[in-house]
C-alpha cells in the first residue's frame, strides 16, 4: 500500500490527481483518454495502447489472471475483449476503441499483478491498429474521468 502511494505521488508530480471521497488518490493521467468502464487509452497516430485505470485496479483487488485476446482479433469500442480475475471474480474488460490487436502484453501471463502495481505503464494490456480514429471523441478526458470516478465512489 505504501509503495502504491509512493508511485501515485511520483505520478502526481506530472499529472492531475483526482482525490476520491475517501481521501485515497486514484491516479488519472492527463494525456490519456478514458472509457466509463474504467479503461484508459493512449493514441499515437493510428495505433492505440490500452489497459485499465488505477481506479479500476483498486476496485478489483489483486489481479491473479489476465485473459488476453489473440493477435489479429478485432475489438470494438465498448465491447468486451478479455477479462481479469481477482478475488474469485472474473471481470470483463471492454475495449475503449475499435481496431485490430497487433500486440498483447505477454508479461501479464507470468505477472498479472503488474495491472495493480503499474496500471498505466508496465500493466498495459493491448495495442491495436485503429479502425476509426474518430471514436476517441466519445471518450472522456482526464478531468471528466476524475469527476466520473468521484461520482461513482459517492454512490456507496
Amino acid at each position: 500500500m505504501a509503495l502504491r502511494l509512493l508511485w501515485a505521488s511520483r505520478v502526481a508530480s506530472h499529472l492531475r490527481i483526482s482525490v476520491a471521497q475517501r481521501g485515497f488518490a486514484s491516479a488519472v493521467l492527463k494525456d490519456l483518454k478514458y472509457a466509463d468502464s474504467h479503461e484508459w487509452v493512449k493514441i499515437e497516430g493510428n495505433k492505440a495502447t490500452f489497459g485499465i485505470t488505477d481506479h479500476a485496479q483498486d476496485h478489483l483487488g489483486d489481479v491473479v489472471y489476465v485473459e488476453l485476446p489473440e493477435l489479429g482479433h478485432s475489438v470494438s469500442q465498448g465491447k468486451s475483449f478479455g477479462a481479469v480475475e481477482s478475488v474469485k471474480a472474473t471481470s470483463d474488460i471492454n475495449s475503449p476503441v475499435s481496431g485490430t490487436v497487433v500486440e498483447v502484453n505477454k508479461e501479464l501471463t507470468e505477472s498479472p499483478g503488474l495491472v495493480n502495481s503499474s496500471p498505466y505503464e508496465q500493466g498495459w494490456i493491448v495495442k491495436v491498429e485503429l479502425s476509426d480514429a474518430g471514436e476517441a471523441e466519445k471518450l472522456m478526458d482526464s478531468d471528466k474521468y476524475s469527476k466520473f470516478c468521484e461520482e461513482e465512489d459517492a454512490k456507496h
Binding site: D58, H59, G61, V64, E85, V87, K88, H156
Partner: protein, 235 residues
C-alpha cells in the same frame, strides 16, 4: 437522497447446473437493459463439480470418467475462482445485480458477499471470518464453510456464493477445493450445536442477510418459480 433499492428474489429449489446458467444469462441480459431490477436466485444443485475461467482441472482428483459413477456432473464456467462442488443441502445464491448503481467493484462486492455469509453463520452462533489474501470465501478457523466465484460483465454480476448447510462432504474429497490444499471443508451442521430448522427457513435467513448487507430497501419474494424455470431454450 438515493432512490430506494429493490431486490427481487426467486426461490427455485433444485436446479440442474446448465439450466441455472441459461437462466442467469437471460437475467443478466435483462438486467443490462433495465428490464428487471436487481434479482437474486436462491437454489441448490444436484451433485456438480464446476471449474472457473482458468480451467484448473488438475484440481479434480478423479478421472472425469468416474464422475457418473459417483452421481456427479462437471462443468466449465466463466466465473472466477477454482474448482468447487455443489450439491444437496448447500445453499446457493446467484445475485444478478448492477454494481455500477452502487459504485462497487469486484473487491467490495466479494467482501459484501463474505459479510452476508458471516452474518448468517452468526445466527447459529458460528464465528466465521473472511478468508486471508488469496483465500476468498468464508472460514471457521481453518475450515471453509462458504465459497465464492463470480463473474462481472458490464457491471452486472452472475454466479455467486455457496454456503454449506449440511452437504455430503465426501464429495469434496475428490477435488482440491478452491485450489487450496491441506484445508478442510466444513458445514453449518458440523459447526453448530443449534437445532437447524427446515432448509426453506435457512435459505430465507441467508437471503435476508444478503439483502441487509447490500442495503436493499425492499425485498420482493417472487411466488411463481415456473416463470423463470420454464425458459424457452430448455436444454
Amino acid at each position: 437522497m438515493r432512490s430506494p433499492r429493490t431486490l427481487e428474489v426467486w426461490r427455485l429449489g433444485t436446479v440442474n447446473y446448465l439450466k441455472s446458467l441459461k437462466i442467469q444469462d437471460k437475467l443478466v441480459s435483462e438486467r443490462k437493459s433495465h428490464q428487471i431490477p436487481d434479482t437474486l436466485l436462491s437454489l441448490e444443485h444436484p451433485p456438480t463439480y464446476t471449474l472457473g475461467k482458468r480451467r484448473t482441472d488438475h484440481n479434480l482428483l478423479i478421472p472425469q470418467s468416474q464422475l457418473t459413477k459417483i452421481g456427479a456432473e462437471l462443468h466449465y464456467t466463466q466465473r472466477g475462482g477454482d474448482i468447487t462442488f455443489h450439491g444437496p443441502h448447500q445453499a446457493i445464491l446467484y445475485p444478478i445485480i448492477s454494481l455500477r448503481s452502487i459504485g462497487f467493484g469486484a473487491r467490495n462486492y466479494v467482501e459484501t458477499l463474505e459479510r452476508s455469509m458471516i452474518e448468517f453463520a452468526s445466527m447459529y452462533g458460528v464465528r466465521a471470518r473472511a478468508g486471508n489474501k488469496c483465500e476468498t470465501g468464508v472460514w471457521v478457523g481453518d475450515r471453509k464453510i462458504g465459497a465464492i466465484g463470480v463473474r462481472i460483465s458490464c457491471g452486472i454480476t452472475c454466479h455467486g456464493l455457496a454456503f454449506n448447510i449440511d452437504p455430503d462432504l465426501n464429495y469434496f474429497e475428490h477435488i482440491v477445493p478452491c485450489g487450496i490444499a491441506d484445508k478442510e471443508v466444513t458445514s453449518l451442521r458440523r459447526e453448530t450445536d443449534a437445532l437447524l430448522p427446515k432448509e426453506e427457513v435457512i435459505h430465507k435467513q441467508l437471503i435476508t442477510c444478503f439483502a441487509k448487507a447490500f442495503s436493499y430497501d425492499d425485498v420482493v419474494w417472487k411466488e411463481d418459480p415456473s416463470f423463470i424455470l420454464d425458459t424457452k431454450d430448455d436444454g
